[in-house]
């Protein structure tokens, strides 16, 4: 339990988000383009973090379905920014898994010429921290 609590704290720290500010309006879910692909919906992310149920988050499909388009961040009236929470949960999982990251020299080879710029940017946002 206490480790779950720690994990929740860690997510808050990484994301810089205060989930207590959420007023449960659901605008994040209303706006999410990947909503149907997700098992845990964007607005639920907030309550999962609040309740410290991080394992469920870590094992959710949603974690990898989020496009990091940040529409929810943009539209959230309370500055809770669920997208950042998802991002942070992803970070947490990746860090726990350890050496799964790319070495800088591997990157140019992997880059596809036709890769949309937006996707790169999105990946950038996702992994920059």
């Amino acid at each position: 339990m206490s480790s779950a609590k720690n994990q929740a704290e860690r997510i808050k720290e990484i994301s810089g988000v205060n989930p207590l500010k959420c007023m449960k309006c659901g605008k994040c879910s209303a706006t999410c383009p990947a909503f149907n692909e997700m098992d845990i919906k964007p607005h639920q992310f907030v309550s999962y973090v609040l309740n410290g149920d991080i394992d469920a988050l870590a094992n959710s499909k949603s974690l990898w379905k989020c496009l990091s388009c940040f529409a929810c961040v943009e539209r959230c009236p309370r500055d809770v920014q669920p997208g950042r929470l998802i991002d942070a949960a992803r970070q947490l999982v990746i860090r726990q898994k350890g050496q799964t990251g790319l070495a800088p020299e591997e990157i140019p080879e992997l880059l596809d010429e036709d890769l949309p710029q937006q996707l790169l940017m999105s990946a950038f946002r996702r992994y920059r921290r």
Binding site: G26, K27, A30, T31, C32, H43, R75, P77
Partner: protein, 662 residues
């Protein structure tokens, strides 16, 4: 040396839980001048005050320090108690050990130490206090109401009925305000105009009420009981004494392209216009920006058709200067601009409208003559979506942090009225919470759901996407079903947040009334003095103080009126004795102080003085106590330190500084 009594209040556990009051008593008893120190559960209580009186008598006190809550709370209580005990009320000082100490600190040792220091500062000050005696100032028995909406009208009527003269200043060409734009009112579904118009007529007909429409407050000077106000009567270009209100000019006016303010710009009006049919006064104004005569010099149709010869193109703005004893602010509200909310497509589609615009569409005098139709193509809608909390409850910087309060109820009203009149129309309301505190309010909302079949969806709308076929694709969430909903709507109505009318900031500045970051005027006390501004003589009526519906507005308007009447009923006011005073022997007569006085309270006299045997005539600053409000600007600007502020003298403040820093 004073004989000072120190009284330390427990305030129940509010103070005593964090401050060791016994220790405070023990410590302050050793301070110079202190001859008595005690603590008590509630100093502000009858029994607490009796303790003060007792100590004054027994110990022959000349000064009192109460360590308690903020002086803004009970300074007056203890001053009055001192007066009853036979001490000058201005020999009392308060050490604020609650708001500034016990409530913000947790560590008892630390809080106690601070409380002792605060008490010492107050003791050091009282040691230098001198008895002060309030003066008197007169009260002009006339009130000014700024804003001619329902709040202003009600306040004016109540004050006038009590027998005092009232002037209403309204910015637009007619009184009536936002309420005149509403179609029906919740929760009774009365026709808004039907209940408002009689009040407007009553105000216009009242012998004690003077209405200045198309006018603005330009300048305010003076203070409680004796304000002087300049009112700018903008040029109507129509002689109100001659105009019969026949309306021919408006009919014949060839310029009809100006957006109608009354109809929220949904249709247009003529350049010469009255905002609406029941306008009071029923005298049109010429909008000089739209008028062909003013723009090109050619036209003059209205002048030709006016039988009464009332058109006057040469009319100039006029300044009316009037004295008032009390001023009531009733400036009302507007809806916020939606420029920051692109996701709702308000600026992209004519069929996305605000609720206030819907009021006009539903109204028989509105742009669609009361028929519910899409503004884009005039077609009858079949699917309408309401979006709640648009710009309200937002802690980002796009909207307002507060709840606009009226939207839940008017949306229920709109939904119900639409379902009632057009049963073929589906109505969906996306809500975050439905807030219905108020008499018969929740019942009203439940009727919308249960009797009228309005579809309430718990969730917010994320995006409104105009479709090529003219429909609006609404993307929202249904949190209870945990679904994302896509709905094709014909119209989308946004419950847009309300904000104080923009001009209120300027008015607040003129009145020196405090205003918060949302531009709502601040009340003197949020609970106990909700209709008074902290600035004496200024009262608050209606939404300028905070969001409220019509019954609340009317109630508050009445309350503001009563407060104003209470003031006007007095013949004299006692003035604050904490005024500036120049030391004759030190004054250079240099006029520097008069340069910074905001009240013009300082003048100069050639005065014969006796400066330690040297008799000579000197130019000396003299402060008018009735005008001086005691800000102290002069005291700091005075190079010689001749000017001092009674009750906050240089020596007193320095004594406080010393006590804190020692």
């Amino acid at each position: 040396m004073q004989r000072i009594g120190v009284f330390v209040c427990h305030c129940g556990s509010n103070i005593a839980a964090t401050v060791d009051v016994k220790k405070v008593v023990e410590m302050v008893a050793m301070e110079p001048g202190v001859v008595h120190a005690e603590d008590y559960q509630y100093m502000c209580s009858e029994a607490g005050q009796a303790k003060i009186a007792e100590a004054v008598k027994e110990k022959n006190l000349t000064g009192i320090v109460v360590c308690s809550c903020s002086p803004r709370m009970h300074e007056n209580t203890f001053r009055t108690a001192a007066k009853r005990a036979g001490i000058n009320p201005y020999m009392v000082e308060i050490a604020n050990i609650r708001e500034h100490c016990s409530w913000i600190h947790k560590n008892v040792e630390e809080a106690t130490e601070k409380a002792v220091i605060l008490a010492r500062a107050a003791i050091a000050k009282v040691n230098l206090n001198a008895p002060l005696f309030p003066g008197e100032s007169r009260v002009t028995k006339r009130a000014l109401v700024i804003g001619g909406g329902i709040a202003g009208i009600q306040t004016a009527l109540d004050i006038a009925d009590a027998g005092y003269e009232v002037d209403i200043v309204e910015k637009t060409p007619s009184i009536g305000g936002r309420m005149s734009q509403l179609d029906k009112t919740f929760p009774t579904l009365d026709c808004s105009a039907c209940i408002l118009t009689p009040k407007m007529v009553e105000a216009a007909a009242h012998e004690k009420i003077t209405i200045y429409t198309y006018s603005e407050v330009e300048k305010v000077s003076g203070f409680v009981g004796d304000f002087t106000v300049d009112i700018r009567k903008k040029a109507r270009s129509v002689d109100a004494n001659k105009c019969t209100g026949c309306g021919v000019c408006q009919e014949k006016c060839p310029s009809k392209k100006a957006p109608s303010e009354f109809n929220r710009g949904l249709n247009t009006r003529s350049a010469i216009y009255t905002p609406f049919a029941q306008a009071i006064p029923n005298v049109p104004v010429i909008d000089r920006d739209a008028c062909i005569k003013f723009k090109t010099g050619k036209c003059g149709v209205c002048e030709k058709v006016c039988q009464a010869g009332a058109i006057d193109y040469t009319q100039q703005d006029e300044i009316v200067t009037q004295k008032y004893g009390a001023i009531v602010v009733a400036t009302g509200f507007d809806t916020i601009k939606l420029d920051n909310y692109d996701e709702y497509a308000y600026n992209q589609s004519k069929d996305v409208i605000t609720s206030l615009e819907l009021e006009r569409i539903m109204n028989a005098a509105g742009p669609t003559k009361g028929h519910l139709e899409r503004l884009s193509d005039g077609k009858h809608p079949h699917e309408i979506v309401f979006v709640q909390c648009v710009g309200s409850r937002c802690s980002d910087n796009r909207g307002k942090s507060y709840c606009s309060k009226i939207c839940c109820m008017y949306t229920a009203k709109h939904a119900m009225l639409i379902r009632d009149k057009y049963p073929d129309v589906n109505v969906t309301v996306f809500y975050i919470d439905v807030r219905t505190p108020g008499k018969n309010f929740d019942e009203f909302y439940r009727r919308a759901v249960e009797e009228y079949g309005v579809n309430y969806v718990k969730g917010q709308v994320g995006k409104v996407i105009p479709q090529p076929n003219g429909k609006l694709l609404v993307q929202g969430s249904d949190l209870l079903d945990n679904k994302q909903i896509f709905k094709e709507a014909d119209m989308v109505v946004l419950a847009t947040a309300i904000e104080p009318e923009a001009s209120v900031r300027q008015i607040a500045t003129m009145l020196t009334a405090s205003i918060d970051t949302n531009n709502f005027l601040t009340e003197a006390h949020p609970k106990l003095r909700p209709v008074e501004s902290p600035t004496a003589g200024v009262f608050l009526s209606g939404v300028c103080q905070g969001p409220k519906d019509i019954p609340e507005t009317v109630a508050q308007a009445g309350a503001a009126a009563v407060k104003a009447i209470g003031l006007l009923a007095k013949d004299k006011l006692t003035t604050n004795p904490c005024t500036a005073k120049a030391d004759e022997l030190m004054c250079n007569g240099c006029s520097t102080c008069a340069n910074v006085c905001p009240y013009g309270a300082i003048s100069y006299e050639e005065k014969e003085v006796n400066d330690h045997g040297i008799r000579e005539t000197r130019r000396i600053a003299v402060v008018n106590n009735a005008l001086c409000q005691g800000c102290g600007a002069c005291t700091v600007t005075c190079p010689s330190g001749a000017m001092d502020l009674q009750g906050f003298s240089n020596r007193q403040i320095i004594a406080e500084v010393d006590a804190i820093c020692r």
